[in-house]
C-alpha cells in the first residue's frame, strides 16, 4: 500500500530515518548477529582461545537434561498462564458487555493490572504468600497445608503462574470486550426473536465471531508467557527452588549473565529467536487481516 502523492525530495528522508535505523543496527541487528555467531563458537576455560565448533553448542544444548526439562517446564508454564489469563477474562468481558449500568466503572477497575509491572505483580503475590508474613499463606496453613514455596517446587511454580496470569487478565479483558462490542447487536436480537436461548446465542453467534480475537490473544499470551514473565520469575523465585521455576528466558539470563557460559547462552538465544519469529509470523500471517469484522 503506497501513497500516490509524495514529496520529491532525495536527501531528507534519509535524515528522517537515520536515528531509528542507527539504533536498530547498533542495538538490535548487530547484537542479534553476534548472538548467532557466538552460538557456533566455543571459548576455552580461560578465555584465551576461541574455536569454531559448528552446531556443537546446539547439540550439547539439546542433550542437556536441564535444558530439556526447562523446555517442558516452559511449555507447561505458558499453557497454564495463557488459559488462566484468558478464561476469566472472557467471562468478565461477556459480563461487562451485558451490563447496562456501571459498565465504564467495571472496565476501569479491571484494566488496572495492565499498568502494573510484571516484577511488581510478582512482589504483590510474593507478599501475600510469604510463609512468614503472608495473609494467604497463613490461611493455607490454617487448612493444614505445608506452604513454603521456597522449599516446594510445585508451590513456587503455582505462585509464579498465578501472578503472571493475574497481570495479563486486564489485557485479555480489553480485547475480548472490544471484540464483543463489535458484534452487531441486530444479529443477537434476531436470534433472540427466533427463540434461541442465551447460551445458544453465545455458542452459535458470539463464540465464532470472537474466534479471530481469541486466536490473536492466544499468540499474544504465549509471547507474554515466554518472554515478559522473566521479571515475575526473577522477583518471586529467582528460578528456584532447585530450578523448579527456571523457564527458558530465565535460563538464558542465568547461564549467560550469572554463569557466564557464552556459547550455551548464545545457542539458547538463537532458539528463543526462532520461537519469537515463529510466533510473530503466526500473528501477522493468520491474525492481522481477520481481526476486523
Amino acid at each position: 500500500m503506497d501513497r500516490k502523492v509524495i514529496f520529491p525530495h532525495q536527501v531528507l528522508p534519509y535524515w528522517l530515518l537515520l536515528p531509528q535505523v542507527v539504533i536498530t543496527l547498533v542495538f538490535f541487528i548487530w547484537p542479534a548477529g553476534q548472538a548467532a555467531w557466538m552460538s557456533v563458537l566455543q571459548q576455552d576455560m580461560f578465555g584465551s582461545s576461541v574455536d569454531f565448533v559448528g552446531l556443537a553448542n546446539f547439540r550439547e544444548l539439546f542433550e542437556d537434561p536441564d535444558y530439556i526439562a526447562a523446555m517442558g517446564r516452559t511449555a507447561w508454564f505458558s499453557v497454564a498462564v495463557t488459559c488462566l489469563a484468558m478464561a476469566p477474562a472472557l467471562l468478565l468481558a461477556v459480563m461487562a458487555d451485558r451490563v447496562v449500568r456501571g459498565g465504564s466503572f467495571y472496565k476501569t477497575a479491571l484494566v488496572i493490572p495492565y499498568a502494573i509491572a510484571p516484577a511488581v505483580a510478582g512482589v504483590l503475590w510474593l507478599f501475600m504468600f510469604n510463609p512468614a508474613v503472608g495473609v494467604l499463606a497463613w490461611v493455607l496453613k490454617q487448612w493444614g497445608i505445608d506452604w513454603n514455596p521456597s522449599l516446594h517446587g510445585n508451590q513456587a511454580m503455582t505462585l509464579v503462574i498465578v501472578a503472571a496470569a493475574w497481570k495479563q487478565i486486564a489485557y485479555n479483558f480489553l480485547f475480548f470486550l472490544a471484540g464483543l462490542q463489535s458484534i452487531p447487536k441486530s444479529l443477537l436480537e434476531a436470534a433472540a426473536i427466533d427463540g434461541a436461548s442465551a447460551s445458544r446465542r453465545f455458542r452459535t453467534i458470539v463464540l465464532p465471531l470472537l474466534s479471530p480475537t481469541t486466536f490473536f490473544l492466544l499468540v499474544v499470551n504465549m509471547v507474554y508467557a515466554f518472554f515478559d514473565t522473566f521479571a515475575v520469575v526473577h522477583a518471586i523465585t529467582g528460578g528456584g527452588p532447585a530450578k523448579a521455576t527456571e523457564i527458558l528466558v530465565y535460563k538464558v539470563y542465568h547461564d549467560g549473565v550469572v554463569a557466564l557460559n557464552l556459547g550455551s547462552s548464545s545457542a539458547q538465544s538463537v532458539v528463543l529467536m526462532l520461537i519469537v519469529i515463529a510466533l510473530t509470523f503466526l500473528q501477522f500471517r493468520f491474525v492481522q487481516k481477520k481481526v476486523h469484522y
Binding site: Q20, M38, R98, A109, P118
Partner: protein, 284 residues
C-alpha cells in the same frame, strides 16, 4: 445495550461476577496498601491486620527519603526520579524517531526505502531476552553502563509505533498534500503544520502504552545498572526484599511498591480513552 435482556431475572448475575473479578484484582493491591500503613511488628504477627494502620505517612516519608536501611538501598525518591527520566525519555524518544521514520517511508520514494522499513519491522522479533549478552557488550563498549543513555537509547527503536504512524499516514487524503504543495509548503512544513497536529490522538495513545512500557522495564536496568544510585524503582523493590526472610522491612517495601505502581496506574486511569484506542490499534 441488550435491551431484550432487561426483564431477565438473572440480571444481577453479571454484576456479581464482575464484583468477584474486581475483588480478585483488587485484593493484592488492598493488602499492599494496608501493609504500607502498618509497623513492622504488626506485619510480622501472622496474620497481619486487614485494616489500615496509622503509620502510613511515616512509612512513605521514610521510604522516600531514606529507603531500606537494612539493604542499603538508595532513597525511593531517587529511584522514582530515575524511573521517571527513563520512562519519559523512552516514551518521547520512541514517538519522535518513529513518527519521522514513518513520515519518511510514507511520503517519499527513495532507494532503500523498503529495506529500512523491514529493518525496523524486524526489531519486533528481537526482544532483549534473545540478545542479552551481545547487546550488553555493545553498551559496555560504548561506555554507557550506569548512564541514562545506556538505560534508554537501546530501547528507543519501535516497530509498533512506526507501524501505527505509517497506518495512519496512509489515510491522510492526497488533497492535503496537493494543497500544501500548491501553497509552496515543503515536506518539513507539511509535517509540522499538518501531519503532527493530525497525529495528536495517536501520540496520546502511544504515550500511555509507552510510558507504562518504559516505567515497568526490569531486565534491561538489571543488566545496565550496577551503581545503586541508578536503580529504578521497579528494580529497587526486588533488591529491598533480598531473600524475603525476616530481615525484610515489609512496611517500607510495601510503601515502595505502592509508589512504584501509582504513576503508571494513574496514567492508565486518567488517559483511559486514548489508551484503549491505542492498545487495540497498535496490536492489530
Amino acid at each position: 445495550m441488550n435491551d431484550f435482556d432487561r426483564a431477565d431475572p438473572w440480571g444481577w448475575l453479571p454484576h456479581a461476577l464482575l464484583w468477584t473479578g474486581i475483588a480478585v484484582i483488587a485484593f493484592p493491591l488492598y493488602l499492599t496498601l494496608v501493609a504500607s500503613t502498618l509497623q513492622p511488628q504488626d506485619i510480622a504477627q501472622a496474620p497481619m491486620p486487614i485494616f489500615p494502620g496509622e503509620h502510613g505517612p511515616n512509612n512513605y516519608l521514610k521510604a522516600l527519603a531514606q529507603g531500606s536501611s537494612m539493604r542499603l538501598s538508595p532513597p525511593v525518591g531517587t529511584m522514582m526520579w530515575n524511573s521517571l527520566i527513563m520512562a519519559l525519555v523512552i516514551t518521547f524518544g520512541k514517538i519522535a524517531i518513529s513518527i519521522t521514520s514513518a513520515y519518511a517511508v510514507v511520503f517519499f520514494r527513495f532507494p532503500g526505502r523498503m529495506l529500512a522499513f523491514w529493518m525496523i519491522f524486524i526489531t519486533l522479533m528481537l526482544p532483549v531476552e534473545v540478545r542479552i549478552i551481545p547487546t550488553y557488550e555493545v553498551v559496555t563498549d560504548l561506555g554507557l553502563i550506569n548512564s541514562f543513555a545506556g538505560l534508554t537509547v537501546p530501547l528507543i527503536a519501535s516497530a509498533t509505533a512506526t507501524l501505527l504512524f505509517r497506518q495512519f499516514f496512509l489515510t491522510i487524503p492526497d488533497e492535503y498534500v496537493e494543497a500544501a504543495k500548491m501553497d509552496g509548503a515543503g515536506p518539513l512544513r507539511f509535517f509540522w503544520d499538518v501531519v503532527l497536529p493530525l497525529s495528536k490522538t495517536n501520540i496520546a495513545a502511544l504515550f500511555v502504552i509507552l510510558f507504562i512500557y518504559g516505567w515497568n522495564q526490569y531486565l534491561w536496568p538489571l543488566l545496565i545498572t550496577t551503581d545503586q544510585n541508578m536503580d529504578t524503582i521497579v528494580l529497587g523493590i526486588k533488591k529491598m526484599i533480598g531473600t524475603g526472610d525476616a530481615q525484610t522491612e515489609w512496611h517500607l517495601v510495601m510503601a515502595t511498591t505502592m509508589l512504584a505502581l501509582l504513576p503508571p496506574v494513574l496514567v492508565v486511569i486518567l488517559m483511559q480513552r486514548w489508551f484503549v484506542k491505542g492498545l487495540v490499534e497498535t496490536e492489530k
